[in-house]
């Protein structure tokens, strides 16, 4: 910012730009050029304020738009379509009977999410490891992983109900099918991306297949595997809700609740349940982000796969 060698004229010009009266069009950023250290510090302070203010401003604006729609766009009889934010808190969050439905439903959806995710992790990793150890196995099994990704799961939903009934097991199966692919593909990709030089090191010392898998391939693939877990964690929440919408027997999860509140035009309750569902998604995603950090953050720079 500070130039070392310049002609007197240049110095003069800089000086005039610096003086506010002679530079009426100069904005604050431009003025910063001359008096480097001082303005730089205050500039950084201003930036920090903007950094924390902007998100708050955006959030406030969104809430404002929401209120505007509720009170200016919708006539009173149709306000259940978009109830005012504070009424969601007063009429649903602080409403005993509503929470008595939402909390147990949340619990059931958590059970479905984690059961489905756990099964997907086991099946997905075994599947990927099997493919990584032999080309013919990979060639025989990979197409099914792709099929799983390409066939819209919703098309299979009636069949799942047909075979496994309309209760908990079917919800879990939907959840598994939706969250399986990222685990399979990330684990396989992670194992196949192991550095060639490291493989040769293990070859030189006659490492067995199992040793190679346990001491080289799986540890090296952990960052990719955890990235897969995180994607699948988000998907398994989707699976739990979708499963609920189709398989309604037994105690309701969040999906059934959403549908019930929608059918009964209970706006506040519906919005609260949506917010709870979103929070579940964030929480599961965050949990796996944290687990990845604990597992590989020590040696693997996660900012590299942030994109």
């Amino acid at each position: 910012m500070t130039t070392t060698a310049h002609s007197p004229e240049e110095t003069l010009v800089t000086a005039t730009v610096d003086t506010p009266p002679t530079a009426p069009t100069a904005d604050p950023v431009l003025t910063g050029a001359g008096t480097a250290p001082l303005v730089k510090r205050s500039g950084r302070g201003r930036k920090r304020v903007t950094d924390s203010l902007l998100p708050i401003a955006v959030f406030a604006a969104l809430i404002g738009v929401w209120y505007a729609i509720t009170y200016l766009v919708l006539d009173p009889g149709r306000r259940f379509l978009m109830p005012a934010p504070h009424t969601i808190i007063t009429d649903a969050l602080f409403d005993g009977p509503t929470m008595d439905k939402v909390l147990p439903a949340l619990g059931r959806s958590i059970v479905v999410t984690f059961t489905g995710l756990a099964i997907a992790i086991v099946i997905g990793m075994v599947w990927a490891i099997a493919m990584s150890q032999s080309r013919p196995v990979e060639r025989s099994l990979f197409p099914y992983a792709v099929a799983l990704q390409c066939i819209p799961i919703l098309a299979l939903v009636p069949l799942i109900g047909f075979w496994f009934g309309y209760d908990f097991p079917s919800r879990v199966i939907v959840c598994v099918m939706i969250s399986l692919f990222p685990i399979v593909s990330n684990t396989l990709f992670g194992i196949q991306s192991v550095d060639r030089g490291m493989h040769e090191l293990f070859t030189l010392h006659n490492a067995s297949r199992t040793t190679r898998l346990l001491k080289l391939e799986l540890p090296a693939a952990m960052p990719a595997i955890f990235a897969g877990f995180r994607i699948s964690a988000g998907l398994s929440v989707v699976g739990a809700i979708v499963g609920d919408l189709f398989f309604k027997q037994g105690d309701p999860g969040l999906g059934i609740l959403l549908d019930n509140f929608r059918a009964r035009l209970q706006g506040q309750e519906l919005f609260l349940t949506i917010i709870v569902t979103a929070a579940l998604g964030f929480a599961v995603f965050g949990l796996f982000g944290w687990l990845a950090k604990v597992a590989v953050g020590r040696w693997y720079d996660q900012s590299r796969d942030a994109g």
Binding site: S134, G197, H199, T203, L204, N206, R298, W299
Partner: protein
């Protein structure tokens, strides 16, 4: 991804304990052609004995790495024989190939682990090797916290745990700065003098070749073969001052000349 074949068909291995001067590596008329038609090596003869520090200098792409891959059994020769009489081989790559999730100590322990040494023997071998390469106090660090020179030391220590009779070095210091490189040269000379293994060392630096070796082989451009051999008359106690003596300059000059001749 499946592993390459572990041993070359032409490689003969034996497990005889070795003394000074015993042959550990012998190449006779070794040639290598790749499936795509590239002829990397042609008619290579060489012997490495315990107490020999044989350096191969040659332009890049002339087949130096291929030579070591054949010696180690990573890749088979197309014709000729490569005979290894070493119980264990140490192989140091240009890239330190440390496992990033393992600490320095755990990395150094890896090969002993792969060879099924007991926990206590592995631990002791790692501590000794870490001491030898001067990494004491850095045992718990992860590779990402090490400088290039320290990574190379850890890689060297990892091979030392097996106490190999034959050491293969593929431009191990090629990526390091001059000062670090010269310091590691001195430490490797010291290790060589105390352990007495046989070494086959690849480099493209003439000065490094002359400074380190008992014998320098000059390789021609592709297909690589050995065009000249220089015995190095300097004794085992070499100090950095050697680089500034007229004898050193003269020999380095001859090697450079041979290198240029072989290249054209």
């Amino acid at each position: 991804m499946s592993a390459p074949a572990p041993t070359a068909p032409s490689a003969v291995r034996s497990a005889v304990p070795k003394g000074h001067g015993d042959l550990v590596l012998r190449f006779r008329d070794v040639a290598k052609a790749f499936p795509d038609g590239t002829v990397a090596l042609e008619g290579v003869d060489l012997d490495v004995r315990r107490g020999d520090f044989v350096t191969v200098v040659g332009p890049s792409g002339c087949g130096k790495s291929t030579l070591l891959r054949i010696a180690s059994g990573l890749s088979p020769a197309t014709s000729g024989t490569s005979q290894v009489d070493a119980k264990r081989i140490g192989y140091v790559f240009q890239d330190a190939t440390l496992l990033p999730w393992r600490s320095v100590k755990k990395n150094v322990e890896l090969l002993a682990e792969l060879h099924g040494l007991s926990k206590t023997a592995t631990h002791q071998a790692a501590l000794d090797a870490i001491e030898l390469v001067g990494l004491r106090g850095h045992e718990k660090k992860l590779p990402r916290a090490l400088s290039g020179g320290m990574k190379m030391r850890a890689s060297l220590a990892r091979s030392l745990t097996l106490d190999p009779d034959l050491f293969l070095f593929d431009e191990p210091f090629g990526a390091l700065d001059e000062i670090t490189r010269e310091r590691l040269n001195d430490e490797l000379i010291r290790l060589f003098a105390s352990k007495g293994f046989g070494a086959l060392f690849i480099t493209h630096s003439v000065s490094e070749a002359v400074y380190m070796s008992t014998k320098v082989l000059v390789m021609s451009g592709r297909p690589g073969h050995i065009v000249d051999t220089f015995e190095v008359p300097f004794g085992p106690d070499r100090t950095p001052e050697l680089r500034f003596t007229p004898e050193f300059a003269e020999l380095a000059g001859k090697v450079s000349h041979a290198l240029r001749e072989g290249h054209s």
